[in-house]
Amino acid sequence: MALLEVKHLGISFGGLRAVDDLNMSIEQGSLVGLIGPNGAGKTTAFNLLTGVYAPSEGTIVLDGESLVGKAPTEICKSGIARTFQNIRLFTKMTVLDNVKVALHNHVEYSLAESFFHLGKFSKREKEMDERAIDILKVFDLDGQADVLASNLPYGKQRKLEIARALATEPKLLLLDEPAAGMNPNETQELMDTIQLIRDKFHITILLIEHDMKLVSGICEYLYVLNFGMELAHGEPAVVLNDPKVITAYLGE
């Protein structure tokens, strides 16, 4: 069975069908792209998957568990993490704290614990520091652990967002336009990083992207959306040469 099964997913905002009858089946460990022209409903699909919006109809099943009706926090705990099209880091916090605050924690902290079990507590805080640093190392950000997130250069902020999402230990990582605003060198570096994290963390990645070099370079499978509807899906080489897809992007 696939890791993520989406069936007949749809949502309306008033009279607008933002997503209509979306079906996706994403295999464990795969690297899948979600593409389409502006306004096609890609980010809305991400918002449905992460519980920001409740779908009007359809089902979302992650690893056998239905996610429809769950709150974003619960969905995150179930194993979906994401980044944002417009970076939404905690800008007033350090790089380290951004990752640390998202760390998946099997033992919930409590206020009383932080005050009364100081020894055990500080040990746990230290463990979390180490785990956060380990994740930052993957992105070559460990040297800037104490820098405020807002003071990082743009490309590094994008990386930090991915690091923060990984800290939640997701099964499925959703990347919303990870290469937006990057130059070709940075994009190339990002492609390597995405492949690296897929292999290193054994996770499944679904990404929205407009950069076709990135999409054809690393995605193994593509879903194409247009006007909220699924236009095509399949291997990149086939999909990107599909006349329907080319028309959707370039017009008649």
């Binding site: 939404r88 905690f90 605050v101 924690n105 999402a165 800290a167």
Partner: protein
Amino acid sequence: MSLINNLVEQLINGLRTGSIYALIALGYTMVYGIAKMINFAHGDIIMVGAYALYVFAALLGLPVPVCILLTIIVCAVLGITVERIAYKPLRNAPSLAVLITAIGVSYFLQNVALIIFKATPIPFGSVIKVPSIKIGGIHISGITIVTLIVTVIAMAILTWFINKTRAGSAMRAVSEDKGAAALMGINVNKTISMTFAIGSALAAVAGILFICQYESLSPTLGALPGIKAFVAAVLGGIGSIPGAMLGGIVLGIIESLSKAYISTQLADAIVFGVLVVVLLVKPSGLLGKMKAEKV
């Protein structure tokens, strides 16, 4: 010499009053930071704390440390309860609705106290009995010493908690972006509850110190220190924790010096005048940051 002694004593008095304002202001500023609302019922938590201490100490005769602990717990639980019942359902409502609700909660708490304890002020001697000291002709009361020490400790713990613990990071994350925080697996409701609990616990501490100073209970005793602490929070920059600390101390000193050298009757007017001036000159407060609107 006696002039200088007098000035030093007034400054120390100001520090004492200011410490209490600062403890209360922290509750305002933390709740504002995380829930973007002014909790006007916050002052009445001080009143509940003072009455709770009276019940535990004078009516039930429990040992003082137990009374203090129970008072803090009562206030923290009350803070969480008020948030759950009154503010949580309004999380997505316009801020005016939340503001009016907070005022409603304030009147509700005052009137419940009025029903239970009646309007006649109840004399209640200080439970903290520390002898006063004299340094070089300057007289410092025991409760002043305790107030200053307790405030410094409370602020140190709070600063450590917010900056160094994961729970504190969660609070900072929620205050910056609730949506992103939720998507990163942070329990937003629990974090907000925790903020109200901490703010109310600090108000309880302030209430205990306040009642040990003034030794008289009335259902509206929290109103004036509550509103002055709000002024302190705005003065320091609402949403800023160091700002609340600084604002409280500055306000306490202004009040004390006004009482000593200008006029006792005008002291309150001067305190609120400071609010007007701050809003005119630096609307974001002493340590607040002006947010530049991106256009």
